[in-house]
Amino acid sequence: MKILVPVKRVVDYNVKVRVKTDQSDVDLNNVKMALNPFCEIAVEEAVRLKEAGIATEVIVVSIGSILVQEQIRTALALGADRGIHINTEQKLDSIHVARLLSKIIEAEQPTLTILGKQSIDADNNQTAQMLAAITHYSQGTFASKVTIEADKVLVIREIDAGLQTIALTLPAIISADLRLNEPRYASLPNIMKAKRKSIEMLEASSLDVDLAPTFELLSVSAPVQRKGGVKLSSVAELVDKLKNEAKVI
């Protein structure tokens, strides 16, 4: 079985992003970029399925400028077999990404597509579900365990009230939650090996997909900052403050 793993280049999770002074957008100049943490988990899951002899090939795909090839290489170093780069300088929304990815699914026919459940920049949590809708495939979102059983895949999902188990008909789309696995670190030999793996480049404009903007960004702003309060010296003082000043107990 072939597994497709779409991955995204995002601001590193340790970076506290800032808003440009004219509030037109966030300032991403000289900011450290990385593979989205959830995408890393998706790659790891696919590689483990290959190591278990269930998957035969793991293909990573990323959309964006030439810079996203850096994240494709990272995924290749983690064990993916080959990469596809869909080249575009345009800002894309999840629905555009899903439309583009559906074209790759059409061409590659993967049995399983594993994505991260959300990217930590837009925090959308949409692409996997939209891709499943467009391809008419089943969806197993927020997965914390994935088990292949003959022509089905069992997915344990993280839901508000606990855990839910569903069975999906293959081909299926899965979105990875944080506890699906703990990604490995790429070893030096694997980083070297990844340099020789192939990355095919496609132009987004050649895929016959509507990429017209879905929204206009009117402004971005910093949220209202909480002011730090006071450090207290005793539990008695805390109880007194909560009762008589904040009046919350």
Binding site: D123, Q129, Q139
Partner: protein, 314 residues
């Protein structure tokens, strides 16, 4: 211009997130319908019909819809989509699973975790773990939104009831079974305590708790305050407590009157889920911990000394 608010059936008859979704819908327009899909939903439909400001409750019943599967529920919503311009879901795990599939089916964008609505097409939402607030103007003809519960109050309940319109599709060949997925089981966390999304006081433990058994120290204080128990990702990942207790960017978002963070450092991903709480208390032995920068009241010290003292003082 009509608005469809999608209800999430629950046997507990909890209308909280539905009423918040209606409140958000009222900022868009006044022609609001609720869609309730499920099986044996009449008591819930009756309760929902008392939410003020709605035109009608559209009810679709089919045994397959008792399962909360996105593929099947999307078929129901898509069936009614021609009559509506806005589709509003609560940003619960169910809403987040279904709304983008609906948007994908309608081939339009979706706007997640909306915290304010300025007009029928201008929405405000947090990005970058809540470190940036974006205001966007939607271009699509149809708008699919999930709304964040902590940002909206609940629409009123009234004495008068809106019409309940049962739509029967049994005479048509329409099937709500997409045939793609099957529900197998659910393992729900049982707790006598209030749920973290409803509680007015939350006590959360982090890696500093050291193990799951030590959470009993928090529970004893929670018992005295009627509080819910939450956790950081580190505490959940270490297996101290179950995943549904995680608060943060990728867990639950809460905004109680009082949030007590115990042995939690205050990473931005955790703050994303709790920084709109009214009062924040931090208990941490490291006086440099970032959590103190946003806490109203801080106590520097060992939680294993402080928490029993707090229990005794209440």
């Amino acid at each position: 211009m009509s608005i469809l608010v999608i209800a999430e059936y629950n046997a507990e008859m909890d209308l909280t997130s539905l009423r918040k979704s209606v409140k958000a819908a009222q900022l868009i327009g006044s022609n609001i319908d609720i869609l309730l899909a499920g099986n044996d939903t009449s008591a819930f439909a009756t309760a929902a019909s008392h939410i003020s400001g709605i035109h009608q409750v559209v009810v679709v019943e089919d045994s397959i819809l008792s399962q909360p599967l996105a593929e099947n529920h999307t078929l129901v919503i898509a069936k009614f989509s021609a009559d509506y311009e806005h589709f509003i879901f609560a940003a619960t795990s169910w809403g987040k699973n279904v709304a983008p599939r609906v948007a994908g089916t309608l081939n339009v964008a979706q706007f997640s975790d909306v915290i304010d609505i300025e007009s029928a097409d201008v929405f405000v939402r947090p990005i970058y773990a809540g470190n940036v607030i974006a205001k966007v103007k939607a271009c699509c003809a149809k708008k699919v939104l999930t709304i964040r519960g902590t940002a909206f109050s609940e629409a009123e309940l009234g004495d008068s009831a809106a019409e309940i319109k049962k739509v029967s599709l049994s005479d048509t060949n329409y099937s709500f079974d997409a045939g793609l997925s099957h529900f197998i089981s659910e393992e729900l966390s049982k707790s006598e305590r209030p749920s973290i999304t409803a509680a007015s006081i939350i006590i959360s433990g982090g890696r500093g708790m050291q193990n799951g058994a030590n959470f009993s120290i928090l529970e004893r204080v929670a018992d005295k305050l009627g509080a819910a128990i939450g956790a950081s990702r580190a505490a959940v990942d270490a297996g101290f407590v179950s995943n549904d207790m995680q608060i943060g960017q990728t867990g639950k978002v809460v905004a109680p009157n009082l949030y007590i963070a115990v042995g939690i450092s205050g990473a931005i991903q955790h703050l994303a889920g709790m920084k709109d709480s009214k009062i924040i208390v931090a208990i941490n032995k490291d006086e440099e911990a970032p959590i103190f920068q946003i806490a109203d009241y801080g106590l520097v010290g060992d939680l294993f000394d402080i928490m029993p003292e707090l229990e005794a003082a209440l």
